[in-house]
């Protein structure tokens, strides 16, 4: 009854929402009509679905009944075995103490069974009737009412039959067990061997552990200092405590320092760059927020994108790379000095680039290629220095093989230098050449630099955090070569239907579909590595970041493929859908993964952990913010594309975006807030003096003056 009620509520809910739709869509009567059509279709579909479920249930009952009615006593020995193992201690003692009392068996239930099967056969025509109905249904309301009227009593009849059958089954079951017990008793009386078996079985079931087999009453002592993360709870908690990071490694202090410099400057660029982004989002809602040339939308937009690209993501990746590359090579980094040079070069590129962009000096419009060449040369130089450093580090590795992380990382470094060169060398940039190169440049910068580098990092950090080996090395290798093959081809899918050669557009689409291979391989690899470890997620404050990153790696990349087809590009190209996509990937994948790595690594470098509730706040603000940001933009972008297709005046497509841009600003604000929290967490993990540090200082001050004399 409760289910029925629920169903009715759901149905009325659906109808009322459809009515609401019809009201809001007042001027287009067509869509209202279509929605009511959809709703009636849904209602009918669910009716038929329930009918089928009922029939399935009925079928299951009749099968059960047939099984119950079978004569089981054909194989005497097997039957005895079954009985023996089915009885528990209590039953056994009942049997053993029971005085034999024979009862005559009644005949079997063949008659009733036949009747039931006949009844279930009767319901079969009902099924046959429901099949052809859907075609007729949608056509006229009269038909719908008629079919509903027929269907309702039929459903009730089937349900009632089912209830009857299950009652019958229970009765038969009861009688069978009664008979079996009687048989058991007679056999036990007549057959001493079986009686003996029963006794043995009883003895083995009566066995009990003394609870002292494994140890003694001595309280355990942690003699080797191996126990960590002992959580004692004596009151209900609002926030669950997560595992603490393990004790810091004995690392080269100089390396720790340089890695922290990278991560801290990356954090600074993140906060700055997303503040700019947040302001840009506000400008969509309030275009007259300021009339200052340096802060106008067209100038700030590339400031935002380039700052989070080259400032935040790239510096964070390089810094993490300085930890991972020597570690998986089982050696120390080639040169710390070079690492600082690279840091200075990249930082000055971002600083100089942002200032020149705001001053109105840019390279001429291509996305992510807005820095003029002297600025980009600084960046390229910084990357080259680090590439050389990594390469020499790997060259003196003490392992035979090169761990897969180092494939991805070094490849990403080499490729980004090639990409920057191709993007900035003027020999092939005239006319449409610029656009062809732009397609290549902007997409390679994303996929061959950020994605490839991050994949390299996750191949180290994910197994490390889960304390389990990577699922498959081969999948990693497959993904590596497939990524190079397909990703390189797909750049021009940003210029479908433009005047670049048609064949090049087609190659890009084929490449985009080919990306399914590395994405599936990578996702499978990460999820299978996590398999069996999912319980660890709830006990960890870093693993949720990994999980979100992996999920967005799959969905974001799939979305990219979906957008690349000509038919979908028709709707989504040039709209805010692409903005949503770029945030799902650069934020959902790259930023979330980088945070995962940073929260994993920094406490191990400094021995200082962030407040777990602060990490939680960061995670949820960022995730919810991202969803608030992207989902409305995807919906709005789709509607915008459809408005263009239907030939509506352009300004209509601007007006319709207003609520979605507001949502974007709200989501963006949450994301921005999460970065402030992250910034605080970075401070806690690095500069903030922890209690341990103060204690250490006090202890050090004690010095040797207070040698406690041994009382023994």
């Amino acid at each position: 009854m409760k289910i029925n009620k629920l169903f009715i509520t759901a149905l009325t809910g659906m109808i009322s929402t459809s009515a609401a739709f019809a009201v809001t869509d007042g001027n287009s009567g067509n869509s209202g009509h279509e929605i009511s059509k959809v709703v009636s279709g849904l209602a009918m579909g669910s009716g038929i679905f329930i009918m089928l479920l009922l029939l399935l249930w009925l079928y299951r009952l009749s099968v059960k009944l047939r099984v119950e009615a079978k004569d089981r006593k054909s194989d005497q020995k097997r039957w005895r075995q079954q009985q023996l193992s089915a009885l528990n201690r209590k039953d056994l003692s009942h049997v053993l103490t029971h005085k034999a009392a024979l009862r005559k068996r009644t005949g079997n239930n063949a008659g009733i069974v036949m009747a039931i099967i006949f009844m279930s056969l009767l319901t079969a025509p009902v099924k046959a009737e429901t099949e052809p109905v859907p075609e007729l249904l949608v056509k006229s309301p009269g038909m719908i009412i008629t079919v509903t009227l027929i269907l309702l009593p039929l459903m009730i009849a089937v349900w009632y039959t089912g209830i009857k059958i299950s009652r019958l089954i229970r009765r038969i079951q009861f009688r069978r067990i009664e008979n079996e017990t009687a048989d058991l008793l007679t056999t036990a009386d007549a057959d001493p061997e079986f009686y003996q078996q029963l006794l043995e079985r009883k003895a083995s079931l009566d066995f009990k552990l003394s609870d002292e087999e494994l140890g003694s009453t001595v309280f355990p002592a942690d003699q080797k200092g191996l126990l960590h993360n002992i959580a004692e709870v004596d009151s209900p908690r609002f926030l669950a405590a997560k595992r603490k990071a393990s004790v810091p490694h004995d690392l080269d202090k100089a390396l720790v320092k340089v890695v922290l410099w990278y991560l801290v400057s990356a954090t600074a660029w993140l906060v700055l760059g997303t503040s700019v982004g947040e302001y840009l989002g506000i400008k969509f809602v309030a275009p007259d927020a300021d009339h200052v040339s340096w802060l106008s939308f067209g100038r700030l937009r590339p400031v935002h994108t380039n700052m989070v690209f080259w400032g935040w993501s790239s510096l964070a990746m390089l810094g993490l790379g300085y930890y991972v590359v020597p570690r998986v090579s089982n050696t120390v980094v080639f040169s710390i000095r070079l690492a600082y040079w690279s840091l200075i070069l990249v930082n000055s590129a971002v600083l100089g680039g942002s200032l020149t962009l705001m001053a109105g000096i840019n390279n001429g419009g291509g996305e992510y290629r807005e820095y003029i060449w002297p600025v980009m040369a600084l960046f390229g130089g910084g990357i080259f220095v680090t590439l050389y450093n990594y390469y020499r580090t790997i060259g003196k590795r003490t392992t035979t093989e090169i761990y897969i992380s180092n494939w991805y990382i070094v490849a990403a470094m080499m490729f980004v230098i090639v990409i920057v060169l191709v993007g900035y060398i003027p020999q092939w940039q005239n006319g449409l050449g610029e656009t062809i190169v732009q397609g290549y440049y902007m997409h390679q910068a994303v996929g061959m630099w950020f994605m490839l580098f991050n994949l390299g990092l996750i191949y180290y950090f994910l197994p490390q955090q889960l304390n389990t080996p990577i699922y498959s090395y081969s999948l990693g290798i497959l993904a590596f070569w497939a990524q190079i093959l397909f990703y390189t081809l797909i750049g021009t899918h940003h210029f479908l239907f433009s005047s670049i050669p048609w064949w090049l557009q087609t190659v890009a689409i084929v490449g985009s579909v080919g990306m399914l291979i590395p994405v599936f391989a990578g996702t499978t690899n990460f999820l299978m590595t996590m398999k069996g470890n999912f319980h660890k997620i709830s006990r960890s404050y870093t693993l949720p970041f990994y999980l979100v990153g992996i999920i967005f790696y799959f969905t974001g990349s799939m979305q990219g493929t979906a957008e690349a087809f000509r038919e979908t590009n028709l709707v989504w190209h040039f709209t805010d859908f692409t903005t949503a996509h770029s945030h799902i990937t650069m934020y959902g994948i790259i930023a979330f993964m980088l945070w995962a790595f940073i929260y994993t690594l920094v406490p191990r470098l400094t021995g200082k952990e962030p407040g777990q509730h602060w990490v939680g706040a960061h995670f949820w603000l960022a995730l919810v913010g991202l969803l608030f940001y992207t989902v409305p933009l995807m919906i709005g972008g789709t509607l915008k594309g459809m408005a263009w297709q239907s030939g509506k005046p352009f300004i209509d497509s601007v007006v319709l975006m207003a609520p979605y841009w507001l949502w974007r600003a709200i989501g963006g604000s949450l994301m921005w807030l999460s970065h402030l929290v992250f910034c605080w967490n970075m401070y806690t993990m690095t500069l903030r003096r922890s209690e341990d540090e103060i204690r250490k200082e006090v202890m050090d001050a004690l010095g040797d003056h207070h040698i406690i004399s041994n009382p023994v």
């Binding site: 009339h291 067209g298 000096i361 006319g431 005047s499 209509d652």
Partner: protein, 333 residues
């Protein structure tokens, strides 16, 4: 395999693979495109003022929201009479030693495409007002204001271009367009899609749903009634004359109660739409461009626009037929 334990071999293999693909997918197509395409005959390079304007267009990052490419899609028909082709961009080369080529094709269309804006909206007054504050002329616009391209002066010199700001009092300071603003407008006015030379096949617009519809509906009358005069007005006229038909006092005349609109004989109205109009410059109104000709409006579309104007905002005048409009247009040629 040795490949996986020899870092030199591994990295050289990956780099080589990537370089080969890069050559195939980026460098070679770019080079061949550069060599194979020439500028269209009859196209003229930008003059100095327009070049200066283009540099401002680049510096302000206008490309973030405005594309300059007409795709070969039916939905892009509003932005040009034909799809853009490689030759349209062939004349664009490196801006200067610091800056790369700017084809400015763009990747997002938050604002309208500008390929053909010089034809679509050639009014200098409109552009200046729009740059000073877009919401003065298009109330729903989200474009930034480019106030810093204008100067405020107590007294304007005779050679100064003074903007007539709606609602501004006589005592208010004059808004004068700087040379930069004039240059930017000159660049925008220079953006005109070139006609293809005779004999050259015009690329078609794909995904044309209209063609399917017309072949299905045989009577042309049915199509005619399907045209939405209000939407066509919004696309072609309302940026100046405003959605409420009132125009902008001092800049663009009102159509509400306008003698030309209310005239039962549509001759003048059609002529103004097809040929442009400069009759009220004395009152401070800007010249109207030949919207009908520039935007390739069909007689059916013009009739729909005229009928919308004649029946909205309190206007009540005789509706026109397509035949009438056709006759007038052919007499104009």
């Amino acid at each position: 395999m040795d490949l996986y334990s020899n870092h030199k071999k591994l990295y050289m293999a990956a780099l080589g693979f990537f370089l080969v693909l890069t050559l195939f997918v980026a460098i070679m197509p770019a080079l061949s495109n550069q060599q194979m395409t020439a500028v269209l005959p009859g196209s003229r390079p930008l003059n100095n003022l327009e070049k200066e304007g283009k540099n401002i267009f680049i510096a302000e990052g206008c490309v973030a929201c405005h594309t300059q490419q007409v795709r070969n899609l039916d939905m892009d028909k509003n932005w040009g009479s034909r799809p853009s082709i490689a030759a349209d961009y062939a004349g664009i080369t490196r801006t200067d030693i610091w800056r790369n080529t700017a084809t400015l094709m763009g990747s997002e269309r938050t604002g309208p495409d500008l390929t053909n804006v010089g034809n679509r909206q050639s009014s200098e007054d409109w552009h200046l007002l729009h740059l000073y504050n877009p919401r003065l002329v298009v109330s729903a616009s989200v474009m930034p204001s480019y106030e810093w391209l204008f100067e405020l002066k107590e007294y304007a010199y005779p050679e100064d271009k003074v903007l007539s700001i709606p609602g501004a009092g006589k005592e208010d300071r004059k808004v004068v367009a700087s040379r930069q603003a004039m240059a930017l407008v000159a660049y925008l006015q220079s953006l005109k899609q070139q006609k293809l030379p005779d004999g050259r096949a015009v690329p078609v617009f794909l995904y044309n749903e209209d063609a399917v519809k017309t072949s299905a509906a045989t009577s042309s009358a049915k199509r005619e009634t399907g045209l939405d005069g209000e939407a066509l007005y919004a696309s072609n006229c309302s940026s100046c004359h405003q959605p409420n038909g009132l125009g902008i006092p001092g800049a663009f005349p009102s159509l509400k109660g306008s003698n030309i609109v209310l005239d039962p004989d549509p001759l003048v109205q059609v002529t103004v739409i097809m040929k442009g109009y400069d009759g009220r410059a004395g009152e401070g109104y800007g010249a109207m461009p030949a919207v009908g000709t520039n935007n390739n409006l069909k007689p059916e579309e013009i009739a729909a626009i005229i009928n919308h104007e004649r029946s909205s905002w309190g206007n009540q005048s005789k509706q026109v037929t397509v035949e009438e409009v056709k006759m007038i247009i052919s007499s104009l040629k």
